[in-house]
Amino acid sequence: MRSILSMFSKSPFKPLASHMDKVRACVEQIKPLFDALENRDYDSVQKISELIVKLEHEADMIKDDIRTHMRQSMFLPVDKKDFMHLLSAQDDIADAVEDLAVLLRIKNLDTPEEIKPSLHELVNHVVDTAHMGCDLISELEALLEASFGGAEAEKVEKATQKLGTAEWEADRKQFKLAQGLFKLGNDLGPADLLLWNEVIKKLGAVADKTEQIGKTLRIFLSQ
């Protein structure tokens, strides 16, 4: 059955939201991962890390599916390039979490007592920021319903601003943690220092990539 009603093809916004659900599931593993690390429960670190890799793979499958179904002839209420940007931003979050999981599995890493408070702070903040990004995506359906305008658009606009502030905050916390880390000097072996530095960078990347979601959504609104 084709007829004019085949003009309505499957909405790519629904798979986009299910992709984000997988990303959220990845993000939700960050806290347990660091908790296990702190408790030197390396078996759990291994298990959680494997779970994250699996979730990231599932997200990838959805992403590839969206990409293959995104045909040139599809007409979206937003620029197709921007839509793909949004998808990439979401996927980058999952990638960053996966990188984090892999880094923490390279060796049985100790958490120095001195950096624990600021590490906690950064981890909690990054996870909260990523959740804000996920919540934005779940607003997409309502945003479509409102044709990207009106009260719903204002609500999303405000949320993206908050997200921007949260990312800026994450940068500050990341800097503070890095300072704390390098203050340890020779108390920390070079391997640990190198790894911890990478871990901090990846944590920051999760927040960075989340901010990209807000930026792209603002482009949707401004069209």
């Binding site: 009603l5 309505f8 007409f75 209420p77 044709s147 009106g150």
Partner: protein, 416 residues
């Protein structure tokens, strides 16, 4: 069996075949958006379509029809050989019905009017050469490929933008939807009843002037307004609901409007397209009665009933299957979007056909859907399908013309 009885029987069968195809071909297009948005179940849609198509065809479908639909050629060229016009009409019916049959099988939304126009052009060219065709009228038909979708698109864009700014942009969309609903119902009823009573309902021998018709439709509209105003109060609303919940409930309000417009579009389709099946039969009957060719034919009531009845029959036997697939496949359409598209299409068709502009229901609906998409109302549209649709529109007239030529030639070979 003498020749006259044979020809009459043949014409009736061709008309029935055509009517069945009209019912099957367009019902999915007319009702599909309602089923897709879950405003109606597929069984309800079939029921509404059946009732509305029949009412539209029987009560509003032309009482007096031009012998040749859209004046494509001058029927007086057949004055010396009136039976040749009978053969021609039957050929045109067969060609158009065959094309519609193929088109609905392939899922091409072609115009029934253009199919019959092609059929007429086909036998006309054989009977009198290229010069007898009114190429100006032909130009109008070609123009309607552009006019219908553009009109549908513009009106749907405006209707949807209106709904979007007046309801979905608000902080409390439900409150605004409840306030707006009676006014929308008013307009739907005014336009619908005006189309019914002005130049319609000829079978009831009501001949109302435009002013009279306007008064009647305003009264009907006001009644509908009052009833809706009363009913709207019963819709539950809680100001603590968040936007998402309110959007959901607002869509439920639009479901009622969509059911109304589904009726409206099926009605418009029935009234507009029944003439394609019954017009040629009426012409045949007229010639067989007194042996003369007339410019206009009086439509016997039994023929209209036959046409309306078999449109419904075609809808039930073939259309139902098509509809079911539609309902399962479109899930991305919400009632507010479906309403905007169908309301715009039906309004454009009714107003334009009253103004005598050649316009096609399906072509208009295609434009309306794109119009809603342009207003950022749809999550996605598949534009590849548009190319296929355009090809099917352009190929309608050549195809039916050639089939009609072949049929007509066959008639002339075997009959006097």
């Amino acid at each position: 069996m003498d020749l006259d009885t044979f020809l009459l029987l043949f014409a009736v069968i061709a008309c029935i075949y055509m009517a069945c195809n009209i019912g099957a071909n367009d019902v999915a297009n007319a009702m599909g958006t309602s089923v897709g948005s879950k405003a109606l179940t597929f069984k309800q849609a079939i029921m509404i379509a059946a009732v509305a198509e029949f009412i539209g065809a029987f009560f509003v479908g032309g009482h007096v029809s031009d012998t040749i639909r859209k004046g494509m050629l001058d029927p007086t060229i057949f004055e010396a050989v009136p039976y040749h016009l009978v053969y021609g009409m039957i050929s045109a019916l067969i060609a158009a019905a065959l094309w519609l049959h193929i088109a609905s099988y392939l899922g091409w939304p072609v115009s029934t009017t253009h199919s019959i126009v092609g059929g007429v052009v086909g036998f006309g060219v054989i009977a009198g050469g290229m010069d007898v065709i009114n190429w100006g009228k032909m130009g109008q038909v070609v123009l309607s490929w552009i006019v219908s979708p553009v009109m549908g698109g513009v009106v749907a864009y405006l209707v949807f933008k209106f709904i979007s700014t007046k309801v979905f942009s608000k902080r409390t969309p439900m409150v605004y939807a409840k306030n707006l609903l009676p006014y929308m119902v008013f307009w739907v009823f005014v336009i619908l009843s005006n189309a019914m009573v002005y130049k319609g309902l000829k079978n009831l021998h009501l001949n109302l002037s435009f002013n009279h018709a306007l008064v009647i439709s305003l009264v009907v509209g006001s009644l509908a307004f009052a009833v809706t105003k009363f009913l709207v109060k019963k819709i539950p609303y809680n100001s603590s609901w968040d936007l998402q919940k309110q959007f959901h409930e607002t869509e439920n309000i639009f479901k009622y409007l969509q059911i109304l417009t589904a009726f409206y579009v099926a009605f418009a389709h029935g009234s507009n397209d029944v003439a394609n099946a019954v017009g040629p039969l009426a012409a045949v009957v007229g010639i067989l009665k007194d042996g003369h060719v007339h410019m206009k034919v009086i439509m016997p009531t039994w023929i209209l009933a036959l046409g309306g009845g078999f449109i419904v029959f075609g809808l039930l036997i073939w259309g139902a299957k098509v509809m079911k697939t539609v309902g399962e496949n479109i899930t991305e359409l919400t009632p507010s979007r479906g309403f905007a598209a169908t309301f715009a299409a039906a309004t454009v068709v009714l107003i334009c056909s009253k103004m005598g502009l050649p316009i096609s229901t399906t072509h208009t609906l295609v434009g309306s859907v794109i119009g809603v998409g342009m207003a950022r109302g749809l999550p996605t549209l598949n534009l590849a399908i548009i190319k296929m649709i355009m090809i099917s529109w352009v190929s309608t007239i050549p195809f039916t013309a050639i089939i009609s030529m072949l049929c007509y030639k066959t008639f002339l070979m075997f009959l006097p």
